[in-house]
């Protein structure tokens, strides 16, 4: 009975942590979106391998200091997913820009 109550409590805690994670992911995605716009203005590519490597190295370092059950490789794999999605956000935005440009060009009779 006590074990069941504990399980319930831990699951509630996970639900609350998930809410925080999703909020943080949302903030991160908004940043990635803004970065995408700036990259576009500066004419830089969506995929910047050096930056992705730096992000992974950074999160590995942060994780190592915590010393929890997630090892560095696990954190790197999770971040690969997160960056896949960030790249996708930037790609969708670039596609939209290209479409808008094509549309305004054709309206302008270019």
């Amino acid at each position: 009975m006590a074990a069941e109550l504990n399980l319930e409590a831990l699951r509630n805690e996970i639900d609350q942590i998930d809410e925080v994670i999703v909020r943080l992911l949302d903030s991160r995605a908004r940043c990635a979106y803004a970065v995408g716009r700036l990259k576009h203005e500066l004419g830089r590519p969506i995929y910047e391998p050096a930056r992705e490597a730096a992000v992974i190295a950074h999160v590995r370092q942060v994780n190592q200091a915590l010393g929890g059950p997630l090892d560095g490789d696990a954190v790197a794999r999770l971040y690969e997913r997160i960056m896949d999605e960030a790249r996708r956000i930037q790609r969708l935005e670039a596609d939209r820009d290209a479409r808008d440009k094509a549309k305004s060009d054709s309206e302008a009779g270019l």
Partner: protein, 344 residues
């Protein structure tokens, strides 16, 4: 990616995939990196395969659309009057290789009907390997075949070799057959796509299943949705048989496509004594139908005599198939007329 692919190689591949407008999912495993690629771009997988560090490129989606089960999950059932092809009943097509004479067509048609066949086969325009072999009777042969089919309440399938024959064959036949040699005659396939009669599409002698389904796609893309695939043997190093009958095509095609699949054990084996075992195996493997050469006098046939069965052999085969089909939940010609033939 290869096990020893460097970071630079991986980065170069991701960069070019992103440039193509693809979304990349990078997964780092214990020994190698897998890149999942999603997108509507027209990337040529071979271009990626050529890049340094790439181990292999596996395509997940098929190049054919209309023929694939993803597009249409339920089986296609083709209806010709009261006949349903691709349903529970295994449909047997039988008859001579070529129409030769009125007597030959009528005697053979009567024999195959009695045994339980539903469709008469027979060629009027024959694609022979040698230009000096018997080339068929032409329209006169079509007339003979149609009258033989009508006299015994059979449907008729005959081969169309060229787009110029579509109209004349359409006057007589219920199903157009496209032979193995014409499987990749794309102009013919396009023209047949415009017709509204079922097409029996034989597998090319050296065609992969994907190429075969792409040929079906040509017909489907023209708006003709009634395509029956027919395995007839592929060329291998084996010389004992005429071709190697690829029965593995049945379960594979059934998974990849919603189209019915038939098997032609006569051309696959090239010897009448080997036709029955392969016909039994084809039904057991799940074929929707068979196409078998039967001749009233095979030893004097003008073409393919060696692979044509005697009517008595065909009778026996049909009786065996009636035992096999129910084992996999199928039926095969259960009408009383056929039972009489079985008991004989």
């Amino acid at each position: 990616m290869k096990e020893r692919a460097s970071d630079t190689e991986v980065e170069a591949v991701i960069a070019s995939l992103v440039e193509m407008g693809m979304d990349v999912h990078r997964s780092t495993g214990a020994s190698r990196i897998v890149l999942g690629v999603v997108g509507g771009g027209k990337a040529d997988p071979r271009l990626i395969e050529l890049m340094a560090g790439v181990h292999e490129v596996l395509r997940i989606t098929q190049p054919y659309k209309l023929a694939s089960r993803t597009f249409k999950p339920e089986d296609t059932i083709i209806t010709i009057a009261d006949l349903r092809i691709g349903g529970d009943e295994v449909i047997v097509i039988a008859g001579p290789c070529s129409a030769e004479s009125e007597e030959q067509v009528h005697v053979t048609a009567a024999a195959v009907k009695r045994a339980g066949a539903k469709i008469l086969r027979g060629g009027a325009f024959k694609p022979r390997s040698s230009p000096y072999s018997f080339q068929g009777m032409g329209e006169a042969g079509l007339q003979l075949l149609r009258s033989g089919a009508n006299a015994h309440d059979l449907k008729l399938v005959t081969e169309v070799m060229d787009a110029s024959q579509i109209e004349v064959i359409g006057k007589y036949a219920d199903i157009y057959q496209v032979g193995a040699r014409n499987m990749q005659n794309f102009t013919l396939l396009r023209e047949l796509g415009r017709t509204r009669k079922p097409i029996l599409l034989k597998r090319g002698i050296a065609a992969t299943m994907e190429e075969w389904l792409l040929s079906a796609e040509y017909i489907l893309a023209g708006g003709n949705t009634d395509v029956i695939l027919c395995e007839r043997g592929i060329r291998t190093f084996e010389t004992f048989t005429r071709n190697t009958l690829d029965l593995s095509a049945i379960p594979i095609v059934k998974e990849l496509s919603h189209l019915p699949i038939f098997v032609d054990p006569s051309h696959g084996m090239g010897r009448r004594d080997k036709v029955a075992p392969m016909a039994r195996a084809a039904v057991a493997a799940g074929a929707d139908g068979l196409i078998i050469e039967v001749h009233n006098d095979p030893d004097h046939a003008l073409s393919d005599g060696a692979q044509s069965m005697f009517p008595s052999q065909f009778d026996r085969l049909m009786a065996e198939l009636r035992i096999i089909a129910p084992a996999i939940g199928r039926s095969i010609c259960l009408e009383p007329v056929a039972r009489r033939g079985w008991a004989r």
